[in-house]
């Protein structure tokens, strides 16, 4: 299961596909900004119009792929990425041509390519920018314009040095942008497939991080980890402490003394520093971290409070009656005393779940979390090291933090209602 989470998180940010923008805000932010920026548009392989010509005499193949993009947004895409899968026995000639709605066009690329996968980040590709520079020179426009501006502006505005976006609807009748991918190869068995990604400045429900990962995926796959860590830690720690407390209170004398002194020692252990040391030395995963947390909390506050309750319960007449019926000590402890202390123990479990969720998050923020798993704390930690607070990528910090708070609130509310049921003074008549 954890391995699967890990895969989902990494896949979500798989860089080769380049189909998610970097550091994009959540899509719903446009409701507040009132803008209509580009949301991610992906032209899939099957959406390309494919035209294959086999020239038998020359033993060559010409393949043309044509993508039509109706573009009516107010901003240019933050990225324009093309993924190609080229099948060929030999090197082939690849040509990329860009046609604007007004009919003007430019050649982005013309080069010999090997078969295989190829990703072209048009805004940053060296050959593409050289070609764009040549185009600008020919046109007589200033060379300072960026690739994106050149691709999405009319030639006349480029000449003036003030690029203005052409929308499909600016032309009557409305016409799309077109990207023509042409592959010519000296081989009869050749093929090309493409995917074009126009990335905007907003993405998904929770935005993306600096590695193009969808934060929503991190949140969703981090949830079971946060809950598992919190629940398991709270459940095991509270129950173990409760059992020790009950044993201590019920058996009394030497056993009591030993358990109470050990508890005193546990209570003064520098918990966080010890965890940091363990993590530092052993480079543990989240599950071994969980074991370390449990091992460091075998005795604690619950031991003390349950002991004090056990001292009361063990003096009740029905315990004495059970003794006279010949009930053994473990039987009295587990069947007669512990059930009386369980309501308190359950309430305690619910309050300590958020504490452990927080602990996991804070350890991640300190860089002591699991290196591979997507945990909420780790997303916050990466946001912190990615300078999200400084650059104002608020979604990267606030959304995972909000979920941590949400879980804590949920368990706190659960505790409130449990308390109402279990605490007779709060019971409504």
């Amino acid at each position: 299961m954890p391995r699967f989470h890990q895969k989902m998180w990494l896949k979500s940010g798989m860089t080769r596909k380049l189909d998610k923008p970097r550091l994009a805000a959540p899509e719903w932010t446009t409701i507040f900004t009132g803008e209509n920026p580009l949301k991610t548009v992906i032209v899939k392989q099957q959406d390309f119009r494919k035209d294959v010509q086999k020239i038998a005499g020359l033993n060559a193949t010409r393949i043309e792929l044509r993508a039509r993009i109706t573009y009516n947004y107010y901003t240019i895409p933050s990225e324009l990425n093309l993924n190609l899968k080229i099948i060929s026995e030999t090197r082939s000639l690849l040509t990329l041509r860009w046609i604007r709605p007004d009919g003007s066009s430019l050649t982005l690329l013309r080069e010999a390519v090997e078969a295989g996968f190829k990703s072209i980040v048009t805004y940053r590709d060296r050959i593409v920018s050289e070609n764009v520079q040549t185009y600008l020179q020919k046109l007589g426009a200033p060379a300072t314009l960026s690739v994106g501006e050149v691709l999405f502006s009319s030639e006349s505005s480029l000449l003036k040095g003030t690029p203005t976006l052409i929308k499909s609807s600016d032309v009557k009748p409305s016409r799309p942008y077109e990207l023509v991918v042409e592959l010519v190869s000296d081989s009869m068995v050749s093929d090309v497939d493409a995917q074009l990604n126009l990335l905007g400045s907003v993405y998904g429900l929770c935005g993306t991080d600096n590695m193009r990962r969808d934060i929503f995926v991190g949140i969703v796959w981090g949830a079971p980890i946060a809950l598992a860590f919190g629940l398991v830690a709270a459940l095991v720690v509270t129950l173990v402490q409760a059992v020790f407390g009950a044993v201590s209170g019920f058996y009394g004398s030497k056993v009591d003394e030993i358990i109470q002194r050990v508890t005193d020692i546990y209570l003064v252990l520098p918990f966080l520093s010890l965890l940091i040391t363990i993590q530092f030395i052993y480079k543990t995963t989240i599950w071994t971290l969980l074991i370390a947390v449990i091992a460091l909390s075998l005795f604690g506050g619950v031991t003390k409070s349950v002991r004090s309750m056990a001292l009361q319960v063990r003096e009740e007449p029905y315990i004495e009656a059970a003794k006279s019926y010949g009930a053994s000590k473990p039987r009295i402890l587990f069947l007669y005393i512990l059930p009386r202390l369980l309501p308190y123990t359950f309430a305690n479990i619910t309050v300590s779940v958020p504490a452990y969720v927080f602990l996991e998050a804070s350890l991640s923020i300190l860089g002591l979390g699991d290196p591979a798993l997507p945990t909420w704390g780790k997303i916050v930690s990466e946001a912190f090291s990615g300078g999200a607070a400084y650059y104002g990528y608020w979604w990267w910090i606030l959304i995972p933090s909000m979920f941590i708070v949400l879980v804590s609130t949920a368990f706190a509310l659960l505790w409130y209602s449990l308390d109402k049921v279990l605490n007779p003074r709060l019971r409504e008549e």
Partner: protein, 320 residues
């Protein structure tokens, strides 16, 4: 009738912050099989401690515990706790506690608590145990439907019957009843006492009935042992104790018992029971005794046989 239980010099002291409390101080008597012996006395005279001493259910702060407890010829003092658990508790002797209201586990159903003894001690399977539990309920005249109820759903009298049923589950010979009716109203008291009488006939039980209520003890018992400050001061069959009490304390105690339709003013015993951590020397009753003599202040009285079934520990009778 054979003697079922014989106590010789039974002693139980507690360790407390004020010193050693002599709760039971050298008590000896015999109980015949099928009879009922009442232990009567004021609060704090060591009646309940006697019960614990006989059951060998000792509290944590036990200081001294000695004497001989011959149960059917075997000395309980020589047995280990696991032997007691295996052979005696609930199987041959059982106890019904003061305040039955609190003697039931609040988190288990009546059925579970009744069948516990069968599954644990007798090794029966759950189904069989449930059947036996239902039979037990019938034995104490309760409906079977109580099996699935929790203690808080029952009335005081019902709880008391359930506690008696649990104590009877493995058919012990001896039942120690420690104020079994103290928190019940008179009608329920009468019901429980009648039930105990019937059970005694049906199952040939021997009772040790601990109470502070002389009239209640006269209903059930064959013998009465009057306790004062950790000692038995007078022991005899019910008729001789009630009609011809010899010990000044017993006389005073009977005079302090309210009677129906008699307008006599109730007497009370001046002073208060002694502190068992530092009891008075000699006869322990001497500070409150109307017939006190000088010798009473130093000499501890020994039991004197005044008639065939009647013993008294008083120097008045020792001299005569």
């Amino acid at each position: 009738m054979t003697i079922l239980l014989s106590l010789k010099d039974l002693t139980l002291y507690y360790r407390t912050r004020r010193g050693v409390v002599k709760a039971v101080d050298g008590v000896s008597f015999d109980i015949k099989e099928g009879s009922c012996l009442s232990l009567v006395g004021e609060s704090g005279c060591g009646k309940s401690s006697m019960a614990y001493a006989i059951m060998r259910l000792l509290p944590r702060n036990t200081h001294t515990y000695r004497g001989v407890l011959l149960f059917d010829g075997r000395n309980l003092m020589d047995l280990s706790e696991s032997d007691l658990r295996r052979e005696f508790w609930l199987k041959r002797m059982a106890m019904v506690f003061q305040g039955a209201m609190n003697s039931l586990n609040p988190v288990l159903t009546i059925g579970e608590q009744l069948s516990e003894a069968f599954t644990i001690h007798a090794g029966l399977d759950k189904l069989e145990a449930q059947k036996r539990a239902a039979e037990l309920l019938e034995l104490v005249r309760l409906p079977r439907s109580l099996l699935n109820k929790y203690p808080h759903e029952l009335s005081g009298g019902m709880k008391q019957r359930v506690v008696i049923a649990i104590a009877l589950s493995l058919r012990p010979q001896l039942l120690i009843l420690d104020e079994p009716t103290s928190a019940l109203d008179v009608i329920t008291q009468a019901n429980i006492i009648n039930l105990l009488k019937k059970l005694q006939e049906e199952l040939n039980l021997t009772y040790i009935f601990i109470t502070h209520d002389l009239s209640l003890s006269s209903e059930l018992s064959d013998y009465i042992a009057v306790m004062y400050a950790g000692k038995v001061v007078e022991l005899g069959d019910i008729r001789s104790i009630l009609t011809d009490p010899k010990h000044p304390y017993t006389q005073k105690l009977l005079a302090a018992t309210p009677r129906l339709l008699e307008d006599a003013k109730l007497e009370f015993i001046p002073g208060s029971p002694p502190d068992l951590a530092s009891p008075p020397p000699g006869c322990r009753f001497h500070p409150r005794c109307p017939y006190v003599m000088d010798v009473c202040k130093n000499k501890v009285p020994n039991p004197v046989k005044v008639s065939s079934n009647h013993y008294v520990s008083c120097l008045l009778w020792e001299r005569a």
